[in-house]
């Protein structure tokens, strides 16, 4: 395993970069980070739509969320592979398609986290805001969302770990990320699949474990900060395999 790391470690880490495009672990993390950053505002919109009192909007959002949750990510990736070129022209690269699939998928899951965060706020908050004469947009913008989002930070961050794992499916459409890099290394070595894939598993394990640890540290700090105020901390939604 050490010799594989010595010979191919750089490829697993950054792909062909700087001679070629970025790949390997770096691409995995970039994809996951971009997907998180883009899905976050979308998830807030989905969450707001889900709790909207305007029924058609709430229905559409519910349909979106339930559809995505009923489909395997792999199928969403294939859908993206087919749909994104239709929207954006023929020369869209696979990375963008994967990003699209991840954003569509994660916005639904994170939208549910946002919804849970909003619903779990004590209703006295909205009532008090209304009694003070705030309008509905004002209530959401300055009373409900700031509190709900703060409580949701751990769940949203846990979602980053899920995203890192989910990027492994980018391999299917040929994006040069960590799993793909390992697949190529295995193709060159041919005789050591256990070492190569074992190394791949260990890499994901170390990264996701450390990220998860970081998230629980943050969670504890938030719990401590919130324990006096009686606010409900939304439980981390970690149980979501790819």
């Amino acid at each position: 395993m050490i010799d594989i790391l010595r010979d191919y470690g750089l490829i697993l880490l950054v792909g062909q970069y700087p001679q070629g495009p970025l790949g390997g672990l770096a691409m995995t993390l970039v994809l996951a980070a971009l997907a998180l950053i883009i899905s976050f505002p979308l998830a807030i919109l989905v969450g707001l739509a889900r709790v909207s009192t305007w029924v058609p909007l709430a229905r559409v959002a519910a349909f979106y969320v339930h559809t995505v949750r009923g489909l395997p990510l792999l199928l969403v990736v294939f859908w993206a592979y087919f749909l994104v070129p239709l929207i954006g022209g023929k020369d869209i690269n696979a990375t963008l398609m994967m990003l699209f699939a991840l954003v569509v998928y994660e916005s639904a899951y994170m939208g549910e986290i946002v919804r849970a965060g909003i619903v779990s706020l004590p209703s006295g908050q909205t009532q008090a805001a209304r009694a003070l004469g705030l309008t509905t947009p004002q209530i959401f913008a300055s009373v409900v969302l700031p509190q709900a989002l703060f409580n949701m930070i751990p769940s949203i961050l846990s979602q980053f770990v899920v995203l890192v794992k989910n990027t492994s499916l980018a391999y299917v459409i040929g994006v040069d990320e960590l799993t793909n890099a390992a697949y190529q290394v295995n193709g060159q070595l041919l005789t050591k699949p256990f070492e190569v894939y074992g190394l791949l598993a260990i890499s994901y394990f170390v990264i996701c474990y450390l990220l998860g640890r970081g998230v629980s540290l943050i969670e504890k700090r938030i719990m401590k900060k919130r324990s006096g105020s009686g606010a409900v901390v939304v439980a981390a939604v970690r149980n979501q395999p790819a």
């Binding site: 699949p193 394990f205 996701c208 395999p241 790819a242």
Partner: protein, 228 residues
């Protein structure tokens, strides 16, 4: 009408075959995962620190490594460590299915055992004390008193895991198991009717997902009624 993808000769049969393999893979892994998860939970509830540590590591591995990579490790990697005759036996006996089933079983079992563990924690300690004072052994207490109640408490979480496992069976396509996604990809490759093929796949997956969710909610209601 005859221009519909599924109306073409052989394609409906292909889809049914894929659905059958998906159902088989899901059923086998689900049952096995529930058994493994129960065992892990029971062992973890003993006071052996070593067993607890090993199981904790097992769970963390499966929580932090993508399902696809786990399937690759089992399909490409593990056979390398086995004796020659075993490798040959695996190759002759549908190794793709076998390895995918093992990987999915362990993957789901790790998540399910976490759910069962929190289910177990919510069973009041008086239950096991009463069982022990009635003369039940540890195994009997686990099997007849604690695990059934843990299962009941963990039911909603287990329904989620069931759905996740069902969706994860699609990953088996990547090592060549001829399941639903594989069948749809084959249709798409042969006809270039991408849109139709993916619509068919989406309808199949959604229908089964909703069926599982419905079954889960029926089970939850029944369990809620049986609760005193």
């Amino acid at each position: 009408m005859e221009d519909l993808l599924l109306a073409r000769p052989g394609y409906f049969a292909l889809l049914l075959h894929g659905l059958g393999i998906t159902a088989k893979l899901f059923a086998v892994s689900w049952v096995a995962a529930l058994v493994v998860a129960s065992l892990l939970t029971a062992i973890r509830a003993t006071s052996s620190k070593i067993a607890q540590g090993v199981i904790a590591l097992f769970v963390e591995y499966h929580r932090n490594v993508p399902g696809l990579v786990q399937i690759f490790v089992w399909y490409f990697g593990v056979p390398q460590l086995l004796p020659r005759d075993w490798q040959r036996w695996i190759n002759r006996n549908d190794g793709e299915f076998l390895m995918a089933a093992i990987a999915l079983t362990l993957y789901a079992a790790a998540y399910m055992s976490e759910d069962l563990r929190s289910g177990l924690r919510s069973v009041s300690s008086g239950q096991s004390q009463a069982a022990r004072s009635l003369g039940f052994t540890y195994t009997q207490t686990m099997r007849f008193i604690l695990l059934p109640q843990a299962l009941r408490n963990a039911l909603p979480a287990l329904v989620n895991q069931t759905l996740a496992l069902f969706k994860a069976t699609s990953l088996a396509m990547m090592i060549g198991v001829a399941e639903l996604m594989h069948a749809v990809r084959q249709m798409e490759n042969e006809t270039y009717r991408t849109f139709e093929a993916f619509i068919v796949a989406s309808i199949c997956y959604l229908a089964i997902s909703y069926l599982l969710i419905y079954a889960g909610s029926v089970a939850s209601k029944r369990v809620a009624m049986s609760k005193r």
